[in-house]
């Protein structure tokens, strides 16, 4: 049977689960990619894994106490974000050390809690890659309500967040409250991850925060270009990854990460070739 690519795309879009995956995955990837620009520039790429591990602790506490898991996950993630910034602010620990030990301690506590719960087995694959094709109506409501709010908050505070990202001392001299903007930014990242990991899993959420921003940083000539390229590549990779997942019947989260990885590889090659051409033409 000869089926054209267009037929496959039309068929995929005829399934509500695919459209839901694309729209909610796209929204999470967009928030992740835009926040990721600052995450990468702040050299805090580890934060994706840290907040994911903290969110896992939120899930464990939710299960143990029989509370709403989304609410406990977001609460624990926000609390951890504030603790992380407060510890970083003391100057006693390097930023990446705080992210690393917060992750390890949270994961350890979560594993102990879950090991005490009778009859519950953690689905590790779901935790790692989520279930983007199995998005529930509830996930749609939470993501569509919170992601635009997160993006809007970042848009309103973008200049101050960029200031503290570029250089904290200059920000202080300009009268900017660096603790407030560091905490606000980390809370925005924490909420995005807490919502995102249930849908797309730890690996894909961390990938959305780090890979599009690095693709953009490789080729962008200005900050504006970096924002547009990061958002664009995240959306494109989500579409490409979901289509490949549908066509090849492969895990969707992993296919999106592979699409992002291919784009990063391509960006490095393009940058290298452009640099070589510019050197040859200048000699």
């Amino acid at each position: 049977m000869n089926t054209s690519i267009i037929d496959v795309i039309v068929e995929a879009f005829s399934y509500p689960f695919f459209v839901r995956a694309l729209s909610i995955g796209g929204l999470i990837s967009l928030a992740g990619a835009v926040l990721g620009i600052y995450v990468v520039l702040r050299k805090e790429s580890l934060i994706g894994h840290t907040i994911s591990d903290v969110s896992f602790l939120g899930i464990a506490i939710g299960l143990a106490l029989g509370l709403n898991m989304n609410a406990t996950t977001i609460t624990i993630a926000v609390a951890a974000a504030i603790i992380i910034v407060a510890l970083q602010n003391t100057g006693r620990f390097s930023h990446d050390s705080v992210l690393a030990f917060t992750a390890e301690i949270s994961l350890a506590i979560a594993i102990v809690i879950i090991s005490r719960l009778e009859g519950y087995r953690v689905d590790l694959l779901q935790y790692l890659f989520g279930d983007i094709l199995g998005i529930s109506r509830y996930d749609v409501i939470v993501a569509t309500a919170l992601m635009p709010f997160i993006l809007l908050t970042l848009f309103v505070t973008r200049k101050k967040v960029l200031q503290v990202t570029f250089n904290e001392e200059l920000s202080i001299s300009a009268g900017t409250n660096i603790f407030f903007y560091n905490a606000l930014f980390t809370v925005l990242v924490a909420v995005t991850i807490a919502i995102g990991i249930k849908i797309v899993g730890v690996i894909l959420m961390a990938a959305f925060l780090v890979i599009p921003a690095n693709i953009a940083k490789t080729v962008a000539r200005s900050f504006k270009e970096m924002v547009l390229l990061s958002a664009g590549t995240a959306l494109l990779a989500t579409l490409l990854g979901l289509m490949l997942s549908y066509v090849l019947d492969a895990p969707s989260g992993a296919m999106i990460v592979m699409s992002l990885g291919s784009m990063l590889f391509l960006a490095i090659i393009v940058k290298g070739v452009l640099g070589l051409v510019s050197r040859i033409s200048s000699t």
């Binding site: 520039l41 050299k43 200049k159 101050k160 960029l162 200031q163 570029f166 250089n167 001392e169 200059l170 202080i172 001299s173 300009a174 009268g175 940083k217 962008a220 000539r221 200005s222 900050f223 504006k224 270009e225 970096m226």
Partner: protein, 229 residues
């Protein structure tokens, strides 16, 4: 003197762990005053500026700042040079409107740099951009931490012209950290010499005979020679 006091330090000490970097500093900076801060490496000059800015909290004493707007040019700026941000975008992040950015960059001789990436700037170009950034808010107080570091001779002359113009045309007080004693004598209303503690302070002409000044710089004072035709 009835001029408004912009900065008042009372018995200020700053320590890092058990190491005291500054001790017992008393100081007042008035509006429209140009104060030169001199001292050898490690004397605590940068620490004093950062205590005024609120970057370092004093371990003893109090720092009171009445200036509503402060501009700051650091001696060295630690930032990631791979960040793809242009000079224009950086100055916008610090609240500059396009017209203000253009006029401040023109004032500091950096108007051609607006589209250049900050990471690609030379040390001298970066200092011009940082001075333009410090001037964006029309500050009442300007803190310049060895602003001529990495600036070539021509750049240094134009940099000094900017400082002179600011001094003449705008109501701005300047605290200038410098190693260049000749520069200090030309531009400063008052000289402060520190070495962990305040060793001396006064007008440039009076301070040359101060024992604290001689103790600090006596070996470095080389007579200024110029040729006659």
């Amino acid at each position: 003197m009835n001029r408004k006091v912009l900065v008042k330090l009372d018995n200020v000490g700053v320590s890092f762990g058990k190491t005291a970097v500054l001790e017992g500093i008393d100081l007042e900076i008035h509006e429209r005053e140009v104060v030169a801060l001199i001292g050898l490496n490690g004397a605590g000059k940068t620490t004093l500026l950062k205590a005024i800015l609120g970057i370092y909290k004093p371990s003893t004493g109090s720092v009171k700042v009445n200036a509503r707007r402060i501009g700051y040019v650091p001696q060295r700026l630690n930032f990631d040079r791979s960040i793809p941000i242009t000079v224009g975008e950086l100055l916008q992040a610090y609240g500059g409107e396009a017209a203000t950015i253009k006029s401040k960059l023109t004032l500091t001789g950096g108007s051609h740099l607006v589209r250049k990436r900050v990471g690609d700037l030379s040390s001298g170009e970066l200092q011009r951009v940082l001075l333009a950034n410090a001037l964006l808010s029309n500050p009442e107080l300007l803190l310049l931490d060895e602003p001529m570091t990495g600036v070539d001779v021509i750049g240094e002359r134009s940099f000094l012209e900017v400082i002179k113009r600011l001094q003449d045309e705008q109501d701005v007080a300047i605290i200038l950290v410098s190693h260049d004693i000749h520069l200090v004598y030309r531009y400063a209303d008052r000289v402060l010499c520190i070495n962990k503690t305040m060793l001396c302070q006064g007008p440039p002409n009076a301070i040359i005979d101060d024992s604290g000044f001689l103790e600090l710089f006596g070996d470095y004072l080389i007579p200024y020679e110029h040729e006659h035709n």
